[in-house]
């Protein structure tokens, strides 16, 4: 089902995907599409299988059954996934920075792709500036605060200008002001990168702020797809639940 109702190829399509851990089926997705330039929110409680779904989309995990298509072509995590992986970028729940400088961290994906020194430097510095961390370029990554680390990790993904950006709970464990700042900056950054985004989150506020469409996951199964508010309500994460995460003095009587 396309977002615009036209006959177009989804950027990423999953069909009949099943993932098993041990004897238990942890993910069962008969059909899921990601359309170009959208921000698809994947919401659900902890343990619903959101991260597993993300890893399948990122070609980091091969499902037991089913297929994954990128721009219509079937891709397999087990057989030569690297070319397609290089058109994606993933940001995980932890910053996962390397034991080197901020600059080197952000540059790492470009170095893997063999980007020339001058172009690399220009692109890295540009994205460091956009994330507001240009002054940290020569700092060792292990000395950063969590907020700075997350910005670095985002820059590392965005500098690759990927066709598909996969974010796994990128704002968890941040303090309120840092989170608010990043939340407000992200849409602009995504537009600047001209990328499609899949955002995994358990926080309805984030989904509402960033996603253009949502999918709700529970116990490894999709229980709702469609507009964000509809999906949040269907998943039991309705307007009231979303509002609780904000201090709202007007609601107290």
């Amino acid at each position: 089902m396309s977002a615009t109702g036209q006959e177009a190829t989804p950027l990423l399509a999953l069909r009949g995907v099943r993932v098993r851990r041990g004897s238990q089926v942890v993910l069962e997705v008969p059909a899921l599409d990601v359309w170009p330039r959208e921000v698809l929110g994947i919401v659900g409680p902890n343990g619903a299988g959101k991260s597993t779904l993300l890893q399948v989309m990122a070609l980091l995990l091969a499902p037991e059954a089913g297929e994954v298509r990128f721009r219509g072509a079937v891709v397999d995590a087990r057989h030569n996934p690297v070319p397609v992986r290089r058109r994606l970028a993933v940001v995980f729940q932890e910053p996962l920075l390397f034991d080197t400088t901020v600059f080197e961290n952000v540059a790492s994906g470009l170095r893997l792709r063999g980007v020339a020194r001058e172009a690399l430097r220009t692109r890295v510095m540009a994205w460091l500036a956009r994330l507001g961390i240009a002054q940290l370029a020569e700092r060792p990554a292990r000395t950063l605060s969590l907020g700075e680390a997350r910005r670095t990790s985002l820059a590392r993904a965005l500098v690759l200008e990927p066709e598909l950006l996969l974010l796994d709970e990128p704002f968890s464990a941040l303090d309120y002001p840092t989170r608010q700042a990043l939340l407000s900056e992200l849409p602009g950054l995504l537009a600047a990168a001209r990328t499609t985004t899949v955002l995994v989150t358990h926080d309805p506020l984030e989904a509402r702020a960033l996603a253009t469409r949502a999918v709700a996951l529970q116990a490894g199964r999709i229980v709702a797809t469609g507009p964000v508010d509809t999906v949040l309500a269907a998943a039991g994460l309705g307007p009231l639940a979303g509002a609780v995460s904000l201090p709202a003095p007007a609601e107290r009587c």
Binding site: L88, L112, L160
Partner: protein
């Protein structure tokens, strides 16, 4: 006590005078042990990474065998290799017995398990999510292993120092497969044993101090590299 003082004096004198035989023995020790360490690193780090990351039946048994190899007595390694390299032995046609190459081989047998075992531990203690992140960045298999090694460089350099320390100081294997032939296979450790048995205690101690200074110098370099970018 006077023996120790005389030894220090003699050690300095030997170095400064440029005694040709001492230099030859020292250089041979370095060549042989550095070569053995280098080979063990080239083979052992990838092997250790493989043992850390791969999943196959018997992996733990293999890892335990590697750990056992870390405690291999040098004289046993030397003896087994001697029997293999004998003219009448299976590898006799190579004519390697009583050559520096044979000592290198014996020392690889000693250092390889050490480097492999410590490398496996170094890789295993990396965050599993970090491995996924590297793959997600689009790394090929080679790039993946290279980045993992770079992230684990602290314990990997420690593995290199452990391997080098084990072989530069051993005497059992060098004596057996090398034969302690003057000008050909005499290294610092076998020279120390010889001088001791001849009763030249201060010379033996001087050579011992020289050996320690050598090991310290090499490890100083490796430690400096290992600790780069970290607070003093």
């Amino acid at each position: 006590m006077d023996v120790l003082v005389a030894a220090v004096v003699q050690a300095v004198r030997l170095l400064l005078s440029g005694d040709a035989e001492v230099w030859q023995v020292t250089l041979l020790s370095l060549r042989v042990s550095l070569a053995a360490t280098a080979i063990s690193l080239l083979a052992g780090v990838p092997l250790g990474a493989w043992l850390a990351l791969a999943r196959f039946p018997g992996r733990r048994l293999l890892l335990a065998a590697v750990h056992t190899g870390m405690g291999m007595p040098p004289v046993v390694a030397g003896l087994v290799l001697t029997v293999l390299l004998w003219r009448t032995g299976p590898l006799g046609s190579l004519g390697l017995l009583y050559t520096p190459t044979a000592i290198v081989l014996a020392q690889v047998v000693l250092a390889l398990p050490i480097v492999t075992g410590l490398s496996a531990a170094a890789i295993q203690q990396l965050n599993p999510l970090l491995r996924l992140q590297i793959l997600a960045l689009g790394a090929t298999r080679t790039q993946y292993l290279w980045l993992l090694a770079r992230e684990a460089r602290l314990p990997l350099l420690a593995a290199a120092m452990a391997g080098f320390g084990a072989v530069i100081s051993e005497v059992g294997a060098a004596m057996m497969v090398g034969g302690n032939i003057q000008g050909q296979t005499r290294v610092l450790t076998t020279a120390i044993v010889l001088e001791t048995s001849k009763g030249n205690f201060d010379l033996a101690l001087a050579l011992g101090l020289l050996l320690l200074a050598l090991v310290y110098a090499v490890n100083l370099g490796l430690t400096w590299v290992q600790q780069r970018g970290r607070p003093l």
